[in-house]
């Protein structure tokens, strides 16, 4: 058996329960790790064999659901996407995400974050399309070229894990600021050739605590586990709002299904 197979690390987990006024402290657990062990695997090992009361939120274990976001060794990361071997440290510190209200241990409250996301009306809006469809033949589809899709594609990879929001220094001081996730989604729909509600979204973000409070620290793009560049989206959106850059967006044509 090689040394690597016997390797153990210390997992320092932030513990508290805000509903019971528990004073925050760190619990230490010794966890055996392999080369491929992720922080989530280690936490689940702790729950199974050491302390089942450790509070974590997780679901897919494959960086698709965005549930297991936490601060790992000082950096917002997805626990399921962070291998302990890559941290190159014998002590792994797990803390709840900053900039989020905390509930218990590593679980934080996403209500405010989702509310900002919802405010951006993150769906296609197009006045040309009726929402009251009685007959399947009334269904329409939009024609989009590959270039049209490329304009917003990377921003549609967002899994709403909240890592960018927790890394944003503006959110830390201004909770009314929508944050990088919501603003990059505003850009995602602004750049989408199927959407024609530019004015509505601009009115939402063009206010005192809106897009102009972004100081372009760029930490949101650094921590994104899906390769989205929210800082780029925000700067492009700012450019469009100031009239400095052209979107060259041409609204998609509608293609009606032919009646059989």
């Amino acid at each position: 058996m090689s040394n690597e197979d016997n390797k153990k690390v210390i997992l320092k987990v932030y513990r508290t329960n805000y509903n019971k006024d528990d004073s925050p402290h760190y619990d230490k657990f010794e966890v055996p790790v392999k080369r491929w062990t992720t922080v989530l695997d280690a936490l689940l090992h702790v729950k199974s064999y050491s302390d089942s009361s450790v509070g974590i939120r997780y679901s897919c274990r494959m960086a698709s659901c965005g549930s297991c976001g936490m601060k790992i060794n000082g950096r917002p990361s997805l626990a399921c996407y962070t291998k302990i071997s890559e941290l190159k440290d014998d002590v792994v510190v797990c803390e709840p995400l900053p900039n989020f209200p905390r509930i218990r241990d590593l679980v934080s409250d996403f209500s405010q974050f989702f509310s900002h996301h919802k405010n951006m009306k993150p769906f296609i809006q197009n006045d040309k399309v009726s929402l009251d469809i009685d007959d399947k033949h009334d269904l329409v589809e939009f024609e989009q070229t590959h270039e049209d899709v490329d304009r917003y594609l990377q921003f549609s990879y967002c899994i709403r894990c909240g890592l960018c929001y927790s890394a944003c220094p503006t959110v830390a001081t201004d909770p009314k600021f929508p944050g990088p996730q919501a603003l990059s989604q505003a850009y995602r729909y602004e750049a989408d050739s199927r959407d024609d509600s530019k004015k509505t979204r601009f009115n939402i973000i063009d206010e005192r605590h809106g897009i102009w409070r972004c100081h372009f620290a760029g930490s949101c793009s650094v921590v994104c586990p899906k390769g989205v560049d929210p800082a780029l989206g925000i700067q492009l959106l700012k450019g469009h709002m100031l009239g400095l850059s052209k979107n060259n967006k041409k609204l998609s044509n509608l293609r009606t299904k032919n009646k059989e």
Partner: protein, 117 residues
């Protein structure tokens, strides 16, 4: 008050524009100082003579107005991030506007008196 009803994008446009223009105006101002030895350029006679040059007076007034608008708006941005209450934001905006007008008025008065206009 029309100024309070400006959208943030309009204020930002003014902020960026005054920032860029003040860079140019200050650069010209510094070049003025460098066309002769620095100590000599600040001698009493030279300074009074500068104030009697109409182009220099316009330059000084531009610097005063541009930097005041840019600087006070920067201060407003910092202050409204501190608290997220509508009343606080409006109060800060009004106070900053009053201070800005005050500084511009006082500076303009100095320029006008010194230039003997």
């Amino acid at each position: 008050m029309a100024l309070l009803r400006l959208r943030e994008s309009q204020i930002t446009k003014i902020h960026y524009l005054t920032g860029i223009l003040s860079l140019f105006a200050v650069a010209i101002h510094i070049i003025f100082r460098l066309i002769m030895p620095f100590g000599q350029s600040l001698s009493y006679e030279n300074v009074v003579a500068n104030y009697h040059n109409i182009f220099y007076v316009i330059l000084l007034e531009s610097i005063l107005v541009l930097i005041s608008i840019h600087g006070f708006n920067g201060l407003r941005i910092i202050l409204i991030e501190l608290r997220q209450l509508h009343r606080w934001e409006s109060t800060i905006t009004i106070l900053v506007l009053i201070s800005m007008v005050g500084v511009i008025a006082y500076g303009t008065r100095t320029i006008v008196i010194a230039s003997g206009l």
